[in-house]
Amino acid sequence: MDNILIKAEKINKIYRLPAEEIKAVWDLDLEIKSGEFVAIMGPSGSGKTTLLDILGCLDSISGGKLEVLGKDVSRLKEHSLVVLRRKNIGFVFQDFLLIPTLTALENVELPLLFSRIPCERERSTSLLKKLGLGHRINHLPKEMSGGERQRVAIARALVTNPKIVFADEPTGNLDTKSGEQIFQILRELNQKEGLTVVLTTHNNKFGSQAKRIIYLKDGRIVSRQDSCLYA
């Protein structure tokens, strides 16, 4: 039980529109253990991003029970959720979402600033260097390629030493080579450092390399499988 980071029981997410109800996630059970590499796959509109937002405590559930690191998130107040995210969860987004006015280093330092951790410039710098961005430390996002920006976003997600990283289509906006590179970085972080990674992807090649693959359709899990490549 100790190594279960996330436990979802019959969780629902319903968007109530004037004319209809949309069940973005429906009756979904899921456990994610520490050190796992989980790929969530499925067609567009299947609820992958919504599920990732819910599991990352960015969005609330309409029903069911969700425990993240042993805490029932539906009972947590907003500030407690912020602290939970701040300490334990890192996010990587499809379109990088770096702050355009800040340099690569400043973007990486931002979570430390919000966490009231004295700016560990060394940690931020070494993370960027480790991800091959030593020469881009003082560059603005607009001066970097897509792959470089996504690596900065990964450094930003890792800087607070989170227990789990959620990556929403992290290779979706990259060319094949850069996409491959980003995927390998996430995979290495999982394999070598034991970081729990949950990602969404359309790419079967990447998905098949995950330890566990979850297929979603219309907000429901339609299939689960462990990758034979991962062992």
Partner: protein, 394 residues
Amino acid sequence: MKLVSVAFKNLQRKKIRSVLTIGGVAIAVAVLVSLMGFDAGYQRALTGDIDKMGYQVLVTAKGCPYEAATMMLKGGGGLRYMEQAVFDKIVKDPRIDKITPQLVATEFDKDRQNGQGGIVLYMGIDDSYLKLKPWVKFRSGGWFSGAQADEAIIGYEAAELEQRVPGDQIFIPNLNKVLKVVGIFERTGTQDDGIVYLPLKSSQRIFNLPDKLTGIGIKLKDIGSLSAFEEALYNEPGIQVISMAEVKGTIFNLISSAKVMTNSVAIIAILIAVIGVVNTILMSVFERTKEIGVMKAIGASRLDIFRIIWLETTLICVIGGFLGDIFAIFGAQAVEYILRHILPYAPGGKLVLITPILLTGSFIGAIVMGLIAGIYPAFRASSMRPVEAIRLGD
């Protein structure tokens, strides 16, 4: 890295918009400082002018007391005259400390102001004048040689204008009279600087006003006896008593109406600046919806976002306030020049008095303005839900 540097870099994103907003705040602060500086400066200068008249009470021929007081303040002639006998009677009053008779006359000199012509003010005085105004000193030369001498002492500015020195001769146009300049007064910073002084008796003779006076300036031994003194003169025919304190009060009352106008202008300028700041920051918040969502996702609390946006508005107002103070300091000369041309009566001395307290006060005011203007945009930004901000922010 600090939150303030995040805020500062956000302002640099749309430079023209930020510069225009800062400019709006700077103009509002400069207007506020200039108007408040004018309020303070005009009041002080007017008080200085009235106090430097040297007398607390002015006795003039009956007429509009304010017209008479204004004419006296301007150094102009109360165009009504009273008999010398009034002076001879009042002078015996034991409550009087110092008293001086004056006869003011004006002549048009067509050669003045580079041939455009102008009014020259002449004032007949006797040696009691200097007792009432002990601060008046000679720059050069000295007092008249006699009570009937055809001589003149010239105020500092009049002498500068005409480039006169003792020994020169001046000509009173229309009367074909030549006066010898025997002295030049030091600058007093009042309207007295523009007057040509003659011995009282000579002025009565030259301007054909025998035994006539336009005013009597009086300083009482005890200002508390002013009401009783006024009462005693009340029944005296053909004269009126004007207390300079009352004149001061009346002018200040008139100014206070103008103050309401100027303060309204300042308040409107500030309101426009505040609306400008709120608008700019709100636009910036809406443009950055997605970024705000990301910041929340990576650990920013409501308070963090609130502080970043609040800092942005405060920075705008701090920079604007500082620039506004600078504009006000350097613009004061221009404002003074314009006011002197607009105002019907501008006292001597600085009209726009910009003090360190005023500058500091307005700077602090600008900061407070920033804090207030930032509340709503900061609240809007901090209330955004991260998932909605990220997904709907495109």
